[in-house]
Amino acid sequence: MNWLLDLTPDEWNAVRLSIKVATVAMIASLPPGILIALLLARGRFWGKTLLNGLVHLPLILPPVVTGYLLLLTFGRRGPAGAFLAEHFGLVFSFRWTGAALACGVMGFPLMVRAIRLSIEAVDRKMEAAAGTLGANPVWVFATITLPLILPGLIAGAILSFAKAMGEFGATITFVSNIPNETQTLPSAIYTFTQVPGGDPGALRLTLISIVISMVALVASEVLARRIGQRMDIE
């Protein structure tokens, strides 16, 4: 049974990298995710359908296409990539940050959907009540809306994390498959399946990915239940 637990340093790196990439992708997606969800749930503006379509695009497009588009815009010579590298020193291509970007973009529609649904379920009369008590719109959002959408926020974050853990196509297209830099769990498993004698490694990483996904799912269930109990919404 030892071969199951004895991970090589490269395999450990893939696990650590995947968790780092997924966590960063999830956290970085949250603020824009909330903003876009708010716009889609409450905004009335020209081009709302277009924005909605744009957000959902990564869900429909083949991941390879999304990855290639990212390469074109955020690559070294892409317009956004060159700008960010020059002014902020932020480089995406062939770095783990690029993997996080690809994972974030792929999980974004799932996150926005979950948050948007929970925003639409908020009773706006509660917000009006807070307004009459002296809270300005920012405070109303922070003290009423945000706590009320917390379950949706958690669901969206977990979905985004899970998607990032499993993302393969866009990541490998955008940032390739470089051990210790951009080789996430799925990429590492893929690599193992391509070499002779790689099966034990592939199996080990597969089991690890199952465990991580299950832990994330159970944690989100527990968290959501605890919040539900606290709010006592019957």
Partner: protein, 370 residues
Amino acid sequence: MTLSVDISHRLGDFAIDANFESAGRLTALFGPSGSGKSTLINLIAGLIRPQKGRIAVDGRVLVDTAAGIFVPMHKRRIGMVFQDARLFPHMSVAGNLRYGRWFTPVAERYASMDAVVELLGIGPLLDRRPAKLSGGEKQRVAVGRALLASPKLLLMDEPLASLDEARKAEILPYIERLRDETKIPIAYVSHSVAEVARLASDVAVLSQGKIAAFGPTEVIMQRLDLLPAEERGEGGAVLDTRVLRHDEAFGMTVLGSPAGEIRVPRLPRPAGAVVRLRIRARDVMIATEQPVGFSALNILPGTIAAVRPGVGPTVEIAIDCNGATVLARITEQSKQSLRLAPGREVFAVIKTVSFDSATTGAALPVEADG
């Protein structure tokens, strides 16, 4: 305090056009559903922006479309109690109560937590979640939450409409205390004659978006023509009386009024307590001579002050009983056969049992809880 409103606003087919100025302790906005009461109160609170007009509280302009002024709701310092309480589900009762305090400038905080909790009898509820409260408890907490924001005006939008009779009776005494013991002026939306007669100092009657009448409660409650058809039977004289004594042997309370002593079913109020008594016009009989051998206990001598045609085959007769007006609603036939006319001396006769908890305000004593 004066609340002055001069607003015109159109919502689809419905137009609201209201102009009144009230300096009362508790001003009722009274009318049937769909008359525009709630729209009016939402305009005052700032939840709706009027198309045209001006609203001011104590000279402080909240809206003036001509001058381009619109104070947003969170800067108005107007407390609001909604029909559906709207307590925040993610906070405890104490958290709900404290919410408005955060946003009140320290120098303007006049409401204290202890005083409000005591006033509303909500001490035992502080640690609970809103979902675990009864309807009546929720409304009391909602009132407390609005009060603790130290508002300059308190708006109450049908706060009792979604409660059953027992819960209403539980809350009414608290609203009376609020009116009498705090200095906050209140605007109170209601479609119930019983609530308005009991609580209001002034009444604005709304009908199809317009102010049909405005005046002191005693005057408006006698204008049966202004009341919605289903509430017309509830209209009548409103007298401020005082408990003189209790007649324990017969289970009655004797109230003193300018019109004379009035006997009502036993009230749980101490001697000396003020009781606002409503005498339904339909419960008042008229006798042209002192009745003899008659079961009714309340016989008030007076002079007919006015005879007005009523709705259908009825007439309304206002009897001046030593300065207090008692209104009687009788048939045209009785009026003619008794030859009732202004100036005639008559007796207003009211059965003791025609008074009930809705007309005597005999709700649970204020100490009762839950």
